[in-house]
Symmetry: C2
Subunit: 396 residues, 2 copies
């Protein structure tokens, strides 16, 4: 077994330091595991995120995986005006299935194919959203069977989006929260690699958002939405590795933002706790980040404190104002991304973020999947159009 | 007035060679105009499509425009197997509003801001799809009023997608086909720049798809869907300019594909005609390319013949097979893109495309906007999941 292969098969605990070579997801201490730190920042001419080959346990398997990463950074003036600070937006919607999840799915599926998850015959995930779609897409591209566990009451409209990649979709009746742990157990029994949000191989892919942000923009501060904590964990691992490798002089402050209707990590942060207690989540327009019992919640608290950041929350009105600002800047994102921009603004207004800082705020997914509904319209005939057009732009 | 400014304000006719400095869209001979040929292929470190600064009349205005272009090229094995030839897919869905239209919109709106469309107070477009969304997004980012003319019977679900960028939406009763010409007339009267599919400034942006394909992959053949002919015109202009500049040794064959239910250009090509006659279009799943009276149709015929390509068509069954292949490769596109892949396959099967050629097929837009519908699902409880998972992947 090569040194690289041993490393990819080793898991360590950020909290207690324990290590194992079992393809485990969680440490005996209860915390999520991740791969050992690397400081090889070799870049190749591979496409997208695969350019950062030294930091990753596997290379691109080709195909759609080559379209993952190297997403744009844009800095609209209107967004800076709204936030009260210079903000670069990392547009993760520019991805095969429209979200940051593709980084983790592409890497994890490639690693499964390379044998790094043991002898498995299929992959799976517990999700009814971006994660389900992304995992199914990359499983399809690898010709691996995929099982997606969704809640029994999933809206029909969400199913077609997932189904196009032909996974086995199972509607599960009962406590959906229990499914996370149960899926890992059942996966081991049935040789199915459940690539849930914070499994170590997925986190390796999620690192690359932050690697790109740090190497392309060198921000003082990174703000991102947080739900289960997998992406946040990847961000923390990325800045630690880049700093250890000497590629960045200073670790940026990592700020994480939740929707206040369902903000277990932010509430624990505000209390000064080291552990996250599950909450009874309420309704929010940012439903894709409403995780009431986040499996990597404690690791997110550690990441925020270690880097000098925060975990905070914003209400739906603040999120709507940010969504509106983004749309007026020509950027369509899902509500969870607007949470991060609303959070950036609130951090500045509350004095927790220096208005002279350079900030990168991560827009985790496209809004094109969820834009719908009706609109105000005028009416005209071809012949009466003249009158209507006379008024266009006059009121501005 | 600088030489660059004069060039950007000049329009020439590909067909009769006439030139004008009026901000006109069509020549007196009836054919669409475009900007004079350039052979300056200077590249800068500007982001996305703006890298090819020498070939473009304006630079990026910043903001969301910086996220346009530099889209991925991927080559899934399953797609090559399906097509019977090595195919690189250019994924234009990786764009702010999810389609190739963003290249043209970003450039045209930037040029309007720079004064290259005369003294206008708003922009507009005639569309109920990708073009409407894209034009509205880039107008919003430039803080320019935008008017979108849609058919009176537009499905409500399409309106919300366009409305997020806050244009004035006008439902127009009457002959929607007449609107194209009428909008140009009314635009002049009301100082509104109608940035329809084939206006010269939009075509300058649409060139960049092909510039990137040629410089990154140097294909022998390019296959793309065709509707109004604006993108196809941009492709032809791009290969002419790159060849004249000595950046490519040989102009690739340009093949254009339509849906057979509405294929006026393919029918004219098959007849050996130089001009396209309007058709009575039928229903097709590739509705976004079903233009029964394409304004740049004759220019597409000239582009195909000049480069040694074809204009062909495929039926919806062939398109569905291509869509299915793409989804199984993890790639979600709109049906119009699958038309191009189905066309690639049919060109190989009919002997019109050398199976040893290197082919680039353009996937013009994401499927994430239109994926919906229901799906086959299994059902389980958390406790009965064990049984369901035992069967996953076994049948494969």
């Amino acid at each position: 077994m090569s040194a690289e292969r041993v490393r990819a098969a080793t898991r360590v605990c950020y909290a207690c330091g324990a290590a194992t070579t079992a393809p485990a997801v969680r440490c005996d201490c209860g915390e999520p595991l991740w791969l050992p730190e690397v400081t090889d920042t070799t870049e190749t001419d591979a496409p997208g995120m695969w350019r950062h080959a030294g930091l990753l346990p596997v290379d691109s398997p080709g195909g759609v995986a080559d379209a993952v990463g190297d997403t744009p950074l844009v800095a609209p003036d209107a967004v800076a005006d709204f936030a009260g600070v210079d903000v670069s937006l990392k547009l993760e919607g520019h991805a095969p299935t429209g979200s940051f999840k593709d980084r983790g799915s592409a890497l994890a599926v490639a690693a499964v194919e390379a044998g790094y998850a043991g002898d498995v015959r299929a992959v799976g995930t517990v999700s009814h959203g971006n994660m389900a779609m992304s995992t199914a897409a990359f499983a399809a591209s690898a010709d691996l069977p995929c099982v997606v566990l969704v809640p029994d009451d999933i809206p029909e409209s969400r199913l077609g989006v997932i189904a196009q990649y032909d996974p086995t979709i199972v509607r599960v009746d009962g406590d959906y929260g229990r499914l996370y742990e149960r899926s890992l157990e059942l996966g081991r029994e049935h040789d199915i690699a459940f690539l849930n949000s914070d499994v170590p191989l997925r986190v390796e892919g999620q690192k690359t958002t932050t690697v790109e942000v740090c190497l392309d923009a060198a921000p003082d501060v990174i703000v991102m939405p947080v739900s289960s904590g997998g992406h946040a964990s990847g961000a923390w691992k990325a800045v630690r590795e880049l700093h250890a490798a000497g590629r960045i002089d200073r670790i940026p402050d990592l700020h994480f933002v939740q929707a206040s209707a369902c903000a277990p990590i932010a509430e624990a942060f505000a209390r000064g706790d080291d552990t996250v207690a599950p909450v009874e989540g309420g309704e929010t327009i940012a439903y894709s980040i409403a995780n009431a019992d986040p499996p990597s919640g404690n690791r997110v608290l550690a990441a925020a404190r270690d880097t000098g950041g925060t975990v905070t929350s914003v209400d739906d009105d603040a999120t709507r104002a940010a969504l509106d600002t983004l749309a007026r800047a020509g950027i369509s994102v899902e509500a969870s991304c607007a949470v991060a921009l609303a959070g950036t603004r609130e951090l500045v207004q509350s004095g927790r973020l220096d208005p002279d800082a350079e900030v990168a705020t991560v827009m985790t997914g496209t809004g094109l999947k969820e834009a719908s509904g009706s609109a105000d319209t005028a009416r005209a005939t071809v012949d009466s159009l003249d009158t209507v057009l006379g008024g266009v732009g006059v009121e501005r």
